[in-house]
C-alpha cells in the first residue's frame, strides 16, 4: 500500500460521500490486511493504545462482531455498547450519549442505528471520527465496501460490471449504499423486486427497475440477493412469503439462463429458501462466506485509514 494514501473524509457516513479514489484506497488497504487474519497469531500492533467504541442500537451479529474483530486484530481496545444497555433507555438523547462517550476520548465511534441519518447527526456534534455501521434505510457503507472487495477479487475489476439487486429495495440500506458506490465505480445497477418493495423515484438515481427476476438477472455479472424481512407481510407490502418466494426466490432454474461466471452475494442474515434456494446459497457461485471474511479486512482498513498510519507498518 502507498504510505501517502488518505481518505477525503474523516467520517464514513455513506458511500455517497466517497470518491472512487477513496474506494480504491480502502479496497487496496483491505486487500493488504487480509493476510493477517490467516495467521496463527492474528494480531498486529498497528492501533495499540487506540480505543474504538461500537455503539449498536440495533441487533447485529455479523457487523458488530466484524468491527470488533477488526479492531482487535489491529490491537485497538474495542468497547461494545448495545442500545438496550445504553442511557438512551433512560431518556438520554442520542447527541448526549455520543458526547458523553466522546468525553472518554475514544478514537473512533462506530454506530448502528435504526433511524436514517443518526450517524450524520452525531458527526455534527462530536469531533471523533464516526463510522456508520448501518442507519435505518439510508446507508451501510462497510457492507458495500466488503461487497465491492469480494466482487473485485473474483472479477479483477469493477468498472463496467452489471449488478442485479434482488429483493426489498425500499427498506434496504445495503441497496442504497451499493447503488451509490457501484455507480461511482462505473458499474450498472438494476433493482429487481415486487413494486411494493421498490422505492418511489429510484429510476431517477439512474437505476433500472425490473419486476421479473429471470429478466432482471439475465445479463448480470453479479446478483445481490437481499434478505426479506418477515414483518413486511403485515405491512401490506407482501401478500405472503410463499408468494414472494414463488416470484423472487433465486433458484438453480433461474441460474440455468445466466453465465457460469455470475457471482451471487447476500449481505445476510439469510432466510434460507425464501429469497435464495439452499442449493444456490451453497453452490459454487455463492460468495456469501467470502463476504463475511472480507468484512473484517474492510473494517480493519477503515480503522487504519481513519486513524492514520501512525506508528507501525501492518506488515
Amino acid at each position: 500500500m502507498t504510505q501517502t494514501a488518505t481518505l477525503s473524509r474523516k467520517n464514513i457516513i455513506g458511500m455517497e460521500n466517497l470518491t472512487s479514489e477513496d474506494i480504491e484506497i480502502i479496497l487496496d488497504t483491505a486487500d493488504s490486511f487480509k493476510e493477517i487474519s490467516t495467521r496463527a497469531i492474528k494480531k498486529v500492533p498497528t492501533l495499540r493504545g487506540r480505543t474504538i467504541i461500537n455503539l449498536f442500537f440495533e441487533p447485529s451479529t455479523r457487523t458488530r462482531t466484524s468491527f470488533e474483530i477488526a479492531g482487535k486484530r489491529l490491537s485497538a481496545d474495542v468497547i461494545n455498547i448495545s442500545g438496550s444497555a445504553s442511557s438512551t433507555v433512560k431518556g438520554e438523547s442520542l447527541i448526549d450519549t455520543a458526547r458523553n462517550l466522546e468525553a472518554m476520548n475514544p478514537d473512533i465511534l462506530v454506530i448502528r442505528h435504526n433511524c436514517s441519518g443518526a450517524p450524520a447527526l452525531i458527526s455534527q456534534f462530536i469531533n471523533c471520527p464516526v463510522i456508520n455501521a448501518g442507519d435505518g434505510a439510508h446507508e451501510h457503507p462497510s457492507q458495500s465496501l466488503l461487497d465491492l472487495l469480494t466482487i473485485r477479487e473474483h472479477k479483477g475489476t469493477l468498472k463496467g460490471l452489471k449488478v442485479a439487486i434482488v429483493g426489498d429495495i425500499t427498506h434496504s440500506r445495503v441497496a442504497r449504499s451499493n447503488i451509490r458506490a457501484m455507480q461511482t465505480m462505473g458499474m450498472e445497477v438494476k433493482v429487481v423486486g415486487p413494486p411494493t418493495l421498490i422505492p418511489v423515484g429510484i429510476e431517477e438515481l439512474g437505476v433500472e427497475v425490473c419486476y421479473d427476476i429471470g429478466e432482471g438477472i439475465r445479463d448480470a455479472d453479479v446478483i445481490m440477493v437481499l434478505r426479506i424481512q418477515l414483518e413486511r407481510q403485515n405491512q401490506g407490502l407482501l401478500s405472503s412469503l410463499r408468494e414472494y418466494s414463488n416470484y423472487f426466490c433465486l433458484t438453480e432454474k433461474h441460474l440455468s439462463n445466466v453465465s457460469n461466471d455470475t457471482l451471487i452475494i447476500h449481505p445476510g442474515p439469510v432466510n434460507r429458501g425464501i429469497e435464495i434456494a439452499l442449493d444456490v446459497m451453497e453452490g459454487p457461485r455463492s460468495l456469501i462466506l467470502d463476504q463475511v471474511t472480507n468484512g473484517v479486512a474492510v473494517r480493519m482498513a477503515l480503522f487504519y485509514l481513519l486513524l492514520g498510519e501512525s506508528d507501525a507498518n501492518p506488515n
Partner: protein, 427 residues
C-alpha cells in the same frame, strides 16, 4: 393620546387604498385617513414618520401554535404574541392542540385570560372539532363560539372519520364558523417524516405522499354541497389539492384555503443532510407542487397566507430526523418570504398584503384588517427594501427552529401597533 403616521405608503386593500396617505389615530382607532400632508400636525400629537416605508393594516395569521397551556417550554401566549408583533402580525388564531386540548369553554377562557394578561397582540382561539382531537365525538361548538372561538379545527390531526367530518360541517353551519381541516389520510402517511419522492428514497426516510392530502381535500369538498358547512383547507402543500380547491370554487362551493410561506419557498430538497428544521407537516413537496401553489396564489385559488407557526425546542428538533417534531417558527419570517413571491412576480405587493390582512378577516368574519375610519388601529409599518440576513437567534419566539437561517432577504418590520399603541419597534 393621538398619533399621526405621516409620509408613508399606505396599502389597505380592504379600502382599495394604495398610495401616499397619512393616518391619524385616536383612542386606539383610526380617526382620519387623508392624502399626504392634509392632516395638520398639532402639539401633543405623537408623530411617526413613515417616509419611504409601507404602512398596512396589521397582519393576521389564522394558523399559529402558541403551546399554552401544556408546552410552555416551546412557546407561551406571551412569547408567541411578541413573535407575532415582531413579524407585523396584530391578530393570530391559536390552534387547539394544546395540552389540555381547547375543546371546551374552560380552556378557551384560560387562553383568553392569559392573552388578556400577557399578550401584546390579539389572540383568537380556535376550538377543536372533536373532543380531545380524537376524531370521535364533536366538541360543544356552540359553547366554544360563545367563549370566543372563531373557527374549529383538529389541526395536527385530520378528522379521519368521514361521518364525523360530515356532521362537523353540518353542525358548524349553525354557528356560521368554518371547519379548518389538516388534510391528511393517515393510512398513507403512517411513520412518514417527509414528502415521498426521490429525496425520501435517497435519504431512506419513510415518505408521505401528496395523495394523502389530495384524497382528504377531495373528500371534504364532496361533503360540502349537502352539508352547507364552510371548509377552510389548512396549509395546502400539494399541487393536486390546489387544483381540487380551484374546481370546487368554480362550482361555487364554500371552500377557502391557506398556504404557509415554507410551502411556496422550499422543496423536499431542504431535508437533505437530515435538517430537522425542514421537517414539516404537511411536508415540503417538490418543484412541480411549488409551481402549482404559485399558480394558485396568482389566480386567487389560494386565499390567504398563514404561517403554521410551530415553535419547537432543541430537545424536539436536535434529534434523529424521524423522531423530530414537525414545524418551524413562522411569524418572524413571513413578510420577507412573502416578498419573494412579489419579486418573482407571482403576486403584487398589494395582493400580498391582502392575503395577510383583509382576506383572512373576511373569511373568518372578523372586524380587523382594515384601516377605514372608525376601525381599530392595528397597523404594521415596514421597510420593503431593507436587506438583511435572517438570524433565528434574534427571534422573539421562545423557539428558534427555522430553515431560513442566514437567508438573505428584503423587507423588515419596523413597527407594529395594536389598538393604536406601539407594541413592537425594531432597533
Amino acid at each position: 393620546m393621538r398619533t399621526l403616521i405621516k409620509n408613508g405608503h399606505l396599502i389597505d386593500p380592504a379600502n382599495k387604498r394604495n398610495g401616499n396617505f397619512d393616518l391619524l389615530l385616536s383612542e386606539g382607532k383610526v380617526e382620519a385617513v387623508e392624502p399626504k400632508g392634509k392632516i395638520k400636525e398639532a402639539p401633543g400629537l405623537e408623530l411617526i414618520d413613515a417616509k419611504g416605508l409601507v404602512v398596512t393594516p396589521g397582519f393576521c395569521d389564522m394558523h399559529v401554535h402558541f403551546r399554552e397551556p401544556g408546552h410552555e417550554y416551546k412557546e407561551t401566549i406571551e412569547t408567541g404574541s411578541q413573535s407575532a408583533a415582531a413579524g407585523g402580525f396584530t391578530t393570530v388564531a391559536v390552534m387547539p392542540n394544546t395540552s389540555p386540548v381547547n375543546d371546551n369553554r374552560s380552556i378557551t377562557e384560560l387562553i383568553l385570560s392569559q392573552a388578556q394578561q400577557t399578550a401584546i397582540v390579539n389572540i383568537l382561539p380556535i376550538g377543536a372539532i372533536t373532543k380531545g382531537l380524537k376524531g370521535e365525538t364533536l366538541s360543544d361548538m356552540g359553547e366554544l363560539k360563545e367563549a370566543g372561538c372563531i373557527g374549529y379545527s383538529d389541526d395536527g390531526r385530520p378528522v379521519s372519520d368521514s361521518e364525523i367530518m360530515r356532521r362537523a360541517l353540518e353542525y358548524s353551519k349553525m354557528f356560521d364558523l368554518p371547519c379548518i381541516q389538516h388534510s391528511e389520510v393517515l393510512e398513507l402517511t403512517r411513520g412518514g417524516s417527509m414528502n415521498e419522492g426521490v429525496v425520501s428514497t435517497e435519504l431512506g426516510l419513510k415518505g408521505m405522499p401528496t395523495e394523502a392530502e389530495d384524497i382528504m381535500v377531495h373528500r371534504d369538498i364532496c361533503l360540502l354541497p349537502k352539508t352547507g358547512g364552510k371548509l377552510h383547507v389548512a396549509h395546502i402543500s400539494s399541487g393536486g389539492s390546489v387544483d381540487l380547491v380551484r374546481q370546487a370554487k368554480a362550482k361555487g362551493l364554500p371552500v377557502t384555503c391557506e398556504v404557509a410561506p415554507h410551502h411556496f419557498i422550499l422543496t423536499d430538497e431542504a431535508c437533505r443532510g437530515y435538517d430537522t428544521n425542514a421537517k414539516m407537516s404537511p411536508p415540503l413537496r417538490t418543484n412541480s407542487d411549488l409551481e402549482m401553489i404559485k399558480e394558485g396564489m396568482k389566480d386567487g385559488t389560494i386565499d390567504i397566507i398563514a404561517t403554521d407557526h410551530a415553535p419547537h425546542d432543541l430537545v424536539d428538533k436536535q434529534v434523529e430526523f424521524s423522531k423530530a417534531c414537525f414545524g418551524i417558527v413562522g411569524l418572524e419570517t413571513a413578510l420577507p418570504l412573502t416578498l419573494k413571491m412579489v419579486d418573482e412576480k407571482v403576486i403584487s405587493l398589494e395582493r400580498a398584503i391582502e392575503m395577510l390582512t383583509s382576506q383572512p378577516n373576511k373569511i373568518f368574519g372578523l372586524d380587523k384588517g382594515s384601516l377605514e375610519v372608525g376601525r381599530v388601529a392595528d397597523i404594521a409599518i415596514f421597510d420593503e427594501n431593507k436587506k438583511y440576513s435572517i438570524d433565528p437567534s434574534k427571534f422573539k419566539s421562545r423557539s428558534k427552529n427555522s430553515p431560513f437561517k442566514d437567508w438573505k432577504v428584503r423587507g423588515k418590520i419596523l413597527r407594529t401597533l395594536v389598538n393604536g399603541k406601539t407594541v413592537y419597534k425594531s432597533h
